[in-house]
């Protein structure tokens, strides 16, 4: 058994290997690795004794799950209606330009993942950018620079 498997094993054990807890198990794995490694999904399917394609279907259904490794800083730009009319598109474009990646991608150094979301429930503050769990309201392309710099040590 590899180190990874024992980690995944303990997560599965927490839910008594219940097939009905598949989503919770995947959530915990995602939390642990920041993404869902393919071997861990294969392993979950084997232990829970459910079709691999079912695990794959669930893993690709929810936006909270990712099959690709994510960066240390996860930046979500709100593209909801309220943020959109207040210019979130410009903010996104600036982030794409600065990070040299497109929405949905991760920088080569594994530092940043840039993603879009549709409304984070803080419309009054729009345009909103969520960086890890932190909300930044009233974003403008100019503020992008300082948002990224505040992360650099």
């Amino acid at each position: 058994m590899t180190a990874n498997e024992s980690k995944v094993d303990s997560i599965i054990d927490e839910y008594n290997a219940e097939p009905g807890s598949l989503i919770s198990i995947l959530q915990d794995i995602q939390l642990e690795y920041n993404y869902l490694p393919e071997e861990s999904l294969e392993y979950v399917a084997k232990i829970l004794d459910i079709p691999r394609v079912q695990v794959f279907g669930v893993a690709t259904f929810f936006k909270a799950f990712s099959l690709k490794p994510k960066g240390k800083q996860q930046i979500h730009v709100c593209m909801g209606t309220a943020c959109h009319v207040r210019g979130s598109k410009k903010v996104l474009e600036e982030l794409e330009r600065k990070l040299e990646i497109k929405a949905g991608d991760t920088t080569d150094d594994g530092e940043y993942t840039l993603e879009t979301v549709n409304c984070v429930g803080a419309c009054a503050l729009g345009p909103v950018v969520v960086e890890n769990e932190k909300y930044h309201g009233e974003m403008t392309p100019i503020k992008v620079e300082s948002l990224l710099n505040s992360k650099k040590v």
Binding site: E38, P51, R52, V53, Q54, F56, G57, T60, F61
Partner: protein
Amino acid sequence: MSQNSQAPRGEMVKIMLNGAEVQADPHWSLLEAIQFYGIDIPTLCHDEGLTPYGVCRLCVVEIGSGDKTKLVASCMHPVWEGLEVRTHSNRVIKTRKTILELLIARCPSSKKLQDMAALLELKEVRFEPLNDDCILCGLCVRMCEEQMGAKAIGFAGRGPERYITTPFDMNSEECRKCGACMYICPVVELRCQGPQAETVLCSGCINTEPVCAPDYGEAMCFMVPCLSCVKGPEDVK
């Protein structure tokens, strides 16, 4: 589900089917009752040997009476005492055609859909053609799981990104290459290369005179739809 599902076998309920009072087994789906009495309504995602799935909505019928009527997918709907059903009301026909339009716009290459369009005399498709090769009916997934016991394929993604695939989009070791998924797929068979092979709607069968007419007059064969005998443009006189 109605409480009738618990009724002992053999006890029938009465339903009003297109104005006629008929008996139905409470264990049937509404579609089964409709088909039992020989009424032909189109279905796509339904197959007798598989669990009903209710996604194509082509089996739509109208239930209820007065101003309390609604459209339901008959393959997923139970029957109960006193249920009123109309399979060909104006509202149903209109809805059925719109649903078919949407399906054809997604996969204009499907022979099954084109044949259905001919039978329903669909005259136009008002939606932008997508030229996709899957309508997400899920027949292949159910076939693979329920009849072949392989569970090799399934849905992935969500919304507009939903698609049929193998685990991790890779050649799947569960698949035995039995071909059952292709056998049941309504899109796999390409439409005939009749008079209008490139258009969204072929309509060959309703717009062209039967090719056999000059030779046999009124004596037509029983191919459905008519003109299924046509293999290529050279066959059309």
